[in-house]
Point group: C2
């Protein structure tokens, strides 16, 4: 696994999180964040539209990972299998959800949990991801409501797995958690209590 | 079916929506809403904490409907069956989702769709409903992650059914839509594409 090489965007994200944790989200300014890594406010805004957004950087790439997984699935794959393959691919391959990044993700979630406006932003990102996934499934000919239900199910599994991954004391990889959780989801309709 | 008898809360909600549609959400004040039904601002705040909240009134009762459905399910019912019964009960019995209220719900959704801060509030309400449902399932002894997955699935079916119900030209009842959608969900793991 390649070492994580921080570029300007990642350095800003890391500095922002450290400042939010140390001084509080409301008390930290964009100028503070930029100054902490020797950059200007102007450079900050080249990467992020506002202070909230610094906690949600890399969304484009994140979404694209899910879409690529849908596109790559076998032509005769069923909707939930397509989504499962897509979620598994993101969790396995991404350089965002590896061990080195788990402490960052943990701290980030604590800041989000403490601010309803950040929780709301996160929910909007997840809702938007589900919309994008459903559209990618429809592109492949999956009909509604199966496309939306499968997409929402995939995002639910991803979100709950991520919560589990960053929980205190959690040691399994995101891939292991996600794959076990997808199995539970698959067995919900017919499985025993 | 009993005729819908508007009380103060409902009259405020109705007046608020009319003003939001006519004059815009941002342009309407709490004083305007209260005045429109001959009440004081003070009375408004007895029912709603802020202007956004007037579009989300009755949440307590709404949630309780879901919880009651979980509590009432047969002791040996499986998690997804419990949730399906709960969602079906809310859609069938509620005085909120009947034909008389469909035009109100349609207008309300148009206002929400036009304002990201209202969408975010709505997503937070739905996330909170899923949390409450999962807790009710755990109370019954359902283990994690099945409890959360079943709860999230139920809320997804409810949300997508509701969107379909208020879509322009939609004529089926919410119960009909919801029950058909739950069938599609159940067949996702093993069904054909």
């Amino acid at each position: 696994m390649a070492r994580w090489e921080p570029a300007a965007r990642e350095r800003l994200q890391k500095a922002a999180l450290e400042l939010f944790v140390a001084n509080g989200f409301d008390e930290t300014t964009v100028a503070d964040i930029a100054a902490a890594v020797g950059l200007t406010e102007r450079t900050f805004y080249r990467y992020f539209t506002d202070k909230r957004e610094v906690l949600f950087g890399g969304q484009q790439e994140f979404r694209q990972g899910f879409i690529d997984g849908v596109t790559a699935a076998a032509p005769d794959a069923r909707p939930l299998d397509i989504v499962a393959a897509s979620v598994a691919g993101v969790c396995r391959a991404s350089h965002v959800f590896n061990e080195e990044r788990r402490p960052y993700s943990r701290l980030r979630q604590k800041v989000i949990a403490a601010h309803p406006e950040l929780q709301e932003r996160e929910l909007l990102k997840m809702a938007s991801l589900a919309g994008v996934l459903a559209a990618a499934l429809r592109e492949r000919g999956v009909t509604e409501p199966a496309a939306s239900l499968a997409a929402e199910s995939g995002v639910t599994v991803f979100r709950l797995s991520f919560e589990h991954w960053i929980a205190d004391g959690s040691v399994e990889t995101l891939s292991e958690i996600e794959s076990a959780m997808f199995e539970v989801l698959r067995e919900l309709p017919g499985g025993p209590q």
